[in-house]
């Protein structure tokens, strides 16, 4: 679906600052792939480059990111570099932002915010029928129909994030990119939303790319995991394998820093032993 070939991405034109350094990665059909790493590791930059959001000075210095999509209706195969993904946005590709207070337009009802940007194929059947379909879809997220007539400030943080997931999923895209979709939420709500995302992916059989610094999140839902550190991929593989047998020191540190149910977390034990 997406092949990233030895790509270097960074910011600025005069003084280029590298954020992602010679990364290669293949993102396949029908999988949930996680990108983990600390702040500044380049994971969000990589995600923006894959989405094709080359604004605010972001640019590819070398290498390529290519996408290959099959239009479900026409069967037509679309192949192009990510810099030309713009006309695939909210059609083949959609995006789940981190749901802070200001991601949704404060002066627009939720219904309109779901509809805005939808591709033609998902709009059919007139306004009423569309509203009914959205309402049914939102019900699957535990959101009642009156949410459609609400303004963003009337929803809780968890509801807003569920709305954002629903907006991205209602597009029925082949690829969903999620940037820290659960970071601002408490663990109970977080878990609910993660399970919804898995359920959607299994139903649509599409690809979900999840960017998060939280290894616990990756452990719960991803099939494959990529660990980034200082702009490079230091480890990639099946999530279960990485957790069972981490190869890189950085990965081991990350896993060791996870809180545990019984006893102290591994880092504390290491510290106590030293």
């Amino acid at each position: 679906m997406i092949s990233i070939d030895n790509v270097t991405v960074g910011y600025g034109t005069a003084g280029f600052i590298t954020a992602v350094d010679q990364v290669s990665l293949t993102i396949g059909d029908n999988e949930i792939i996680g990108i983990a790493g600390e702040s500044g590791s380049g994971k969000s930059t990589l995600m923006r480059a894959v989405y094709g959001d080359f604004s605010t000075g972001l640019g590819i210095k070398s290498g390529t990111i290519k996408g290959r999509f099959t239009d479900a209706a026409t069967g037509q195969v679309i192949e192009k570099p990510s810099s030309q993904f713009r006309d695939l946005w909210w059609d083949q590709i959609s995006y789940i932002p981190q749901g802070s207070m200001s991601v949704l337009n404060p002066l627009m009802k939720i219904e309109q915010q779901v509809i805005d940007g939808l591709p033609k194929r998902e709009r059919g059947g007139g306004r009423k029928a569309l509203r009914q379909r959205i309402a049914t879809f939102l019900a699957g997220f535990g959101l009642e129909e009156n949410v459609l007539d609400a303004y963003p400030h009337q929803l809780s943080g968890g509801m807003r994030q569920r709305v954002l997931v629903a907006i991205a999923a209602f597009v029925n895209p082949r690829l969903i990119l999620a940037d820290e979709p659960t970071t601002a939420l408490d663990v109970v709500v977080q878990k609910k939303i993660l399970l919804m995302m898995v359920e959607i992916q299994r139903r649509l059989q599409n690809t979900l790319v999840l960017v998060s610094h939280d290894l616990g999140v990756h452990y719960q839902i991803t099939d494959r995991l990529v660990i980034m550190y200082k702009g490079r991929i230091v480890e990639a593989g099946r999530t279960a394998d990485i957790f069972a047998n981490p190869q890189h020191d950085y990965t081991r540190n990350l896993i060791a820093s996870l809180p545990r149910l019984h006893g102290k977390r591994a880092v504390d034990r290491v510290g106590a032993g030293a």
Binding site: Y51, D53, S55, R86, D87, W89, W90, D91, Y95, P97, S100, S102, V103, L104, N105, P106, L107, M108, D116, G117, Y151, H153, Q154
Partner: protein
């Protein structure tokens, strides 16, 4: 329920503002040095008629009675409240005796309102439009030119600009009339064109001065909103620039502009004084000017009370429609 309480609260504030303003208005001119009765007597004396002191005293007494200036300050205030609040009667004009003040005001009011309201609104719409576009593409040439013009116009003191316009377009190039003379039968085409022709220069002077400020403030709003997360999200949805601008940026940019518009309308009558004097425009401002020069208490009271009421009403109306525009206020 919340809405009712909001409206009721707003109405109470409205009434209090007006009563307070009227009270201040009553006392301030009575602290001034001009005495309208003595001014009237002097006027009579200057016309050359001879009167003996007893006759003068009698005339003085009857003038004090007609003008309602007899008794202590508090008695006058009581009578004033009674007349103004319960029958909206400001009495006869002292300088244009015996024409009632209300009649003078009703003749002048449409001129002032028509001129100021239309020019304020034109400036607002134009300024917001230009500011929005130049904030959206801040680096384009047209945006830079517009901002340059706005920055040049904004700091010019109003009376300088009005004088320059008047000198250039009515004196050097005799395009527009120097003073206002309206001609034509009521409701005729001639009358309408005469009004537009005579109002053009004063209206332009207001539009030009206010326009620059709107451009600068909306531009700043738009540039900030463009970087907001919801604007970025809308862009990443693949929405067209036009749609992001009209549905995402514009409504959010206009909210504070509506508050500013209310304040602008509040300041409108200040401006009217200078505009109407400079262009000899037959509105409320000119009436206030005459009233001050002639020590015409009643006329002064009437004109200023009316501008207070008009401003308070305009602000209240804007306050009441604000919840319709911003859902965050509506549901609180």
């Amino acid at each position: 329920m919340h809405l009712l309480r909001y409206i009721a609260g707003r109405l109470v504030v409205y009434a209090l503002v007006i009563v307070f303003a009227l009270t201040v208005l009553f006392f301030v001119p009575r602290l001034g040095p001009t005495d309208p009765v003595e001014a009237m007597l002097a006027k009579v004396a200057s016309q050359g008629a001879y009167m003996d002191p007893a006759q003068v005293d009698k005339l003085r007494q009857s003038l004090i009675d007609t003008f309602g200036l007899g008794g202590s300050l508090w008695e006058q205030y009581g009578a004033f409240v009674n007349r103004i609040i319960f029958s909206a009667d400001f009495g006869p004009s002292l300088s244009m005796y015996p024409t009632p003040v209300m009649e003078l005001i009703w003749n002048a009011l449409p001129w002032t309102f028509g001129l100021l309201l239309s020019s304020t609104l034109i400036a607002w719409v134009l300024g917001n439009f230009v500011g929005l576009l130049s904030g959206w593409r801040p680096n384009s040439n047209s945006s830079r030119v517009m901002e340059g013009i706005a920055i040049c116009l904004y700091p010019i003191p109003y009376y300088i600009l009005a004088l320059v316009l008047s000198i250039l377009f009515s004196y050097v190039w005799k395009i527009f009339p120097l003073t206002t003379t309206i001609r034509g039968a009521p409701w005729s085409w001639e009358l309408v064109s005469s009004i537009v022709w005579n109002s053009f220069l004063p209206a332009m002077s207001i539009v030009i001065v206010v326009f620059g400020w709107w451009v600068i403030s909306v531009k700043a709003q738009t540039t900030a909103l463009k970087e907001e997360e919801f604007a970025r999200y809308a862009r990443l949805k693949g929405l067209s620039d036009g749609r992001i601008l009209t549905r995402y940026i514009l409504p959010n940019a206009l909210l504070p502009q509506i508050t500013f518009l209310a304040l602008q309308i509040g300041l409108m009558f200040n401006g009217s004084l200078i505009t109407e004097i400079l262009f000899d425009y037959p509105g409320l401002g000119l009436l206030i000017y005459t009233a001050v020069l002639q020590g015409d208490f009643n006329l002064l009271m009437g004109t200023i009370s009316l501008s207070v009421i008009a401003v308070a009403t305009a602000t209240m109306i804007i306050d009441l429609i604000y919840p319709l525009l911003d859902p965050r206020i509506r549901h609180r």
